[in-house]
Structure formats: C-alpha cells, structure tokens
Amino acid sequence: MFGSKMLEVAIGIIFVFLLVSLICSAIREGIESWVKARAAFLEQGIRELLHDKSAVGIARSVYTHPLIFGLYLDEYRPRTDARLDALSPGGNLPSYIPSRSFALALMDIAARGIDTHGEASGPSAPELTLARMRENVLNIENGAVQRVLLGAIDTAGGSMERAVANVAAWYDSGMDRVSGAYKRATQKILLGIGLAVAVGMNVNTIAIGRFLFRHDAERAVLVAAAETAARDSSILQGDRDARYARAIAALDSLRLPIGWDDVVLVRPWTTRQAVNVFGARTTVVEGSGLWLHVFEPLVGWLVTALAVMLGAPFWFDILNKVMVIRSTVKPHEKSPEESSEDRQTGKDRTSTAGARSGSTMLAEETRDVTPARSARSEAPPAPTRERAPVPAPDPDNAVDACDVQADVHALTSDEDLPAAQGGIA
C-alpha cells in the first residue's frame, strides 16, 4: 500500500506539472505571438547559413527576392541587435520559410542576378537551367554559397528537381540548428515564466507533495482527474486561450494548496498556520524555522519552474507511463466485477478499497444483492414514462429515480451507514 501511495503522490505531482506547463506554454505562446522571436532566429540562421553575418549581401538578396518577400509585410529591415534570445523581436519577418521557396530563390538569383529591374526580369532574361546557373553563379557574390550551389548543381546529374532538392536539404540542415537554438532559448524563457507562475500562483511542489501524502480524499480526486486527462491527449491541443483556460480551471477544481489565499504570512521564526483544505479549517502546527518558511517555498517553486522547462508534452508522456506502472502495481483497481452488465456500479465499487469497516460491509452486502437484482431485471420491464421518445439535448438528463419501491432492493441498515461528523457544538 505504501508503494501505491507514493505512486499516487507522484502521479498527482506529475499532473500538476502538466497543468502548470500547459499554463506556462500558453503564456509563452502569447509572448511569442507578440514578440515573434522565431522570425529573429530564422533570420539569424539564414544569415549564418549564407555566410553573411551583417545581412548586406546574399542574405538581404534572398529576403528581398520576390519569392520570399511575399512572406512578410513591409520592407526588409535586418535586425541590428547582437543579442538573440526568446525575447528578441522578429519584427515583420516571417517565422518560417519553405525550403523549396528558399532553394528556388537562391537558384533564381544565381541564374538571373540580384536585380529585378529591366533585362533580368524581362522576356530576354536567362532561362533557369542548371547550365545557366553554373555560368552566372558569380551573381551570388558570396564564395561559400557559390561553392554550395555549384556542388548542388554538379551532383544533380542534370536534373533540375534534384538540384532544388539538394539546396533544400542544405537549407533544412541549417534550419534544424535554428530550431535547436530556438528551443533552448524557449526553455530559458519557460524557466522564467515557470518561476513567475510558481511564485505568483504559489505552486510549491514540496507543499503539494506533502499535502497529497496526507490527504487521501484529495489525492484520490487528483489521481482520478489525472487518469481522465492521461487518456485524452486533447489537453495538449486546441488554441492557446482554450488550453490556458482548461488548465486553469482544472488546477482550480483540484483543491490543492496553491494560490496565496490560504497562506498566512508569518515571521520565519514563528510557527506556520497551514490551512487544512478538507473539512473544517483547522490549524496545523507544522513546525518553525527558516527551512519551512524560506527555503522550502524557494526550493518548491524552483522545482516547479524546472519542471515547466521540460514542457507539457513531456509531462503528458510521463503521466501516461506512470499510469501504466500503476495499473501493473495495483491490479485490483481494475475491478474484477467490471465485466458484469452494469459498468457504472462496477466502477463505483472499486473505490471502496481501503475502507472503514462499516462501508466494507456495505460493499460485501451489495455484491450479494447484485445477482438477485439482475435476475429480476430479466422480467419485461414495466413501461415507464421516462422511456418515451422525446427530443432532448442530452438524453441522460431524462433519467431519474424517485418513487423507488422498497421491495426492489435490499435496504441499508443503520449499522451499515458511514460515520457522520459535525452537528455537535
């Protein structure tokens, strides 16, 4: 039981990481849509690929080539900032350039030159053939790129398409590097966003872990929610706002010790009043000292931020893997009675595990009752009004259960009732 408890705590924490990652990546995407750092990385990558660091030669020519120029608004204004990170503004430049457009633009420049005025764009312009490109390759005005282009032409075996593919492959390899650099920069800013969110929403991994370890009900709820989420990858999809709203709502509904509402700020040397979320609000004296009040939140927030850095898809994968482990660790959770005709009740019954004695008796008794009930159900059911074909937006809403006659079920005796709390001053 200890192992599965730890596993459930882990599942809970992973699920929280997943939700916080979703929130942070949505925030990151919001920032990105405004800053357009991807475009800055692409421009820098193309400059480096074309051996034109300051964008005065071939890189500028490619960006202003009509095939590429159509991908962005306004004039081409090269970035002047030496700094390049996830907050570098990409301006009006495109975030992506298709490799085929890039290759055709470069080859067009090689064959017909940079200038798009007069002769070069008229009927007498040179034909776009491999031979013509080879002849006019000096149009590129960049030794390194000329060499690449010559290589692409010479290894194409006379096929124009193969030459285009060669140049496109070269461009793609450069783009892989751009993607890598961009991803690393993204992780850096995710760490920043993660820290801000962790502190802002007070998502302290250590506190959540401790809370889950101590509160069985909340842990069960969290694991149930994680199970639902793990089955459904739609949590990673949809547009930014929808994902953000979903993750926030999910975090909100989990009743975890996050947020600042319940935190009582105290001086580090006094004891902290922790608020027990379930049931009456009780004061739990958790101890005192610098660790609890200063270092633990700091470490907890940092862990959350580091987890956010790994991204939501990563945590989704991990969650699914851990769920598989859990299903092998706890086979009885799969409920042997599930195969009976009433799936709903089978599912409910699984949750009576680890029960108080009274409720265990209840579960035992219901199991005995079930065959009798199903035998009775084989008799033709009396026509009920609920069965009438009515147009309803949600058919399940047309189901109810009052006027239940006592003889169709075994009654619950007082001894089988769960223990009550409250009502005493």
Binding site: A217, E218, A224, A225, I235, R246, A249, S253, R255, F278, G279, A280, D342, Q344, T345, D348, T350, S351, T352, S357, G358, M361, L362, A363, T366, V369, R373, S377, P381, R385, E386, V390, P393, D396, N397, V399, D400, A401, C402, D403, V404, A406, V408, H409, A410, L411, T412, S413, D414, E415, D416, L417, P418, A419, A420, Q421, G422, G423, I424, A425
Partner: protein, 265 residues
Amino acid sequence: MTTRLLWLPEALRAAGCKVALVDGWERRGQDSLGRILGVLCHYTATPDATRNMPTLKLLIEGRSDLPGPLSQLGLGRDGTYYVIASGRANHAGRGEWNGITTGNTSFIGIEAENSGRANDPWPAVQLDAYQRGAAAILRQVGRTAASCCGHREYARPAGRKTDINVDMDQFRRSVAAILSGQSAPPVLIPAVEAVGQARPTLRRGDTGELVIELRRKLNIPGTDGTFGPQTEAAVRAFQREHGMVPDGIVGPKTWTRLDESVRKV
C-alpha cells in the same frame, strides 16, 4: 476538465449539518456535471421509518435499469447528509424549472428519506437540515432560494412525479431566510452535559470508560470500549423507542434518558 463537487461536505458541515461520507464519493458519478444552477429536492418514497437511511445502497448502486448514483446527497431521517457522489447523478429526469431542462447536469439532487405518505410526517430535525443544506449549496454556487425546487415542480409532464410533499413555497421562504441570515443559527448538540456529571457527548468513533458505561446501559454484551457501528445502531434504536432524534449521538438528552431507563429497570 471537470468540476467535481468536492466542496459539498465542507459547505454542509459549515452550515451546522451532520455529514457522513460514503466511501468513494470523491470519484463517484460521471465527470459531466455542468455549472450548478440549483438544488432539486426529492424523497425516497420508501416506507421504512425504522432505519435512518434505508435507501442509501440503492442511491449508490442504482438499479438494474438505471445506473447509480441516483443523487449526490442522501438525507437521513435524523438530518444527516450522506455524501454519495461528487459527479453527475441520475436524479432529475425530464422536466423544467426556471427554464432549465438539463436537470442531471445542472442540479444537485438531494434524496431525503421519507415515504411521502400522510402517516409519515417529516421530522423537524430532518426538514431543518434539508433547508440549511439547500441554503448552504445555493450560497456556495451563488444562487438564490428561487433556484431550489421540488422534483414535483420540475418534472414534466406535470404530475409525473409526486415528490416532494412539502410546501415548497414555504421551503423556499425558509431557505431565503437562512441565506439572508434572518433565521436562528443551527441548533447544535452540546459537547458536554450542562448539569450533573458533565459527561461529554459521545458518537461513533469515540472510545473510553464512558463508552463502556454506555454499552452497559444499552445492555450490549462485552467490555469493548469502542463506539462502533453496532453501538451506534443500538443508540439509534433506543432513541427511536423513546421518541427522540435517532441520530446515534449520545448527547445530554440521551444520557438523561439512558439514566432514567436504567433506574426503571
């Protein structure tokens, strides 16, 4: 993602009600609840006044043609709320109240233990808990007393259901009074006797010498000092026999009556 009604026990207990959690309530019921727009009041129509919540098992499990849970809350005759499910329950059926037709999605269902017959009056403690619980839920979801209705009022076609046989207009007035703070605070059982031996109020889960004394007074064999389900059932039986609230809690009144009954013997 879904919103489960995990606040139910806390809200009810804060309203002064007795609350008992049915194992697995946190995960029972489908995840398809919508925004809660009100409370739907039912009775169980089970003519068995000798037990506190005889239909509990049925509400949890459902029946062969209708999967459980059949309501989120069960209300025992002693005014104890049994929290059955935090998800969707099949309680509403076809109907309409204030323009809302999606009963199972939008309403929290409370099934109160009552036969609905003329010879089965509602115990005051149960009706009081009914109103306080409904008020607590409505306050939690930010609705007014008008969002609380009887199944009879909701069900369509009109007359499809008979529950509940309580004047719902009066019920709503009481709920509104509770919501606005005009009604008296809930009457709680004192934690200790005010006079005499100042014995503490005992309930299930308690242990000690007083529990042994209690069991002796109830003629339960053995010297076990644990207030378990059997002891509780015996207390309820004693209280029922003497016309008291059969809640299984041994407060000042029950202590006094127990002393008297022992003296008589």
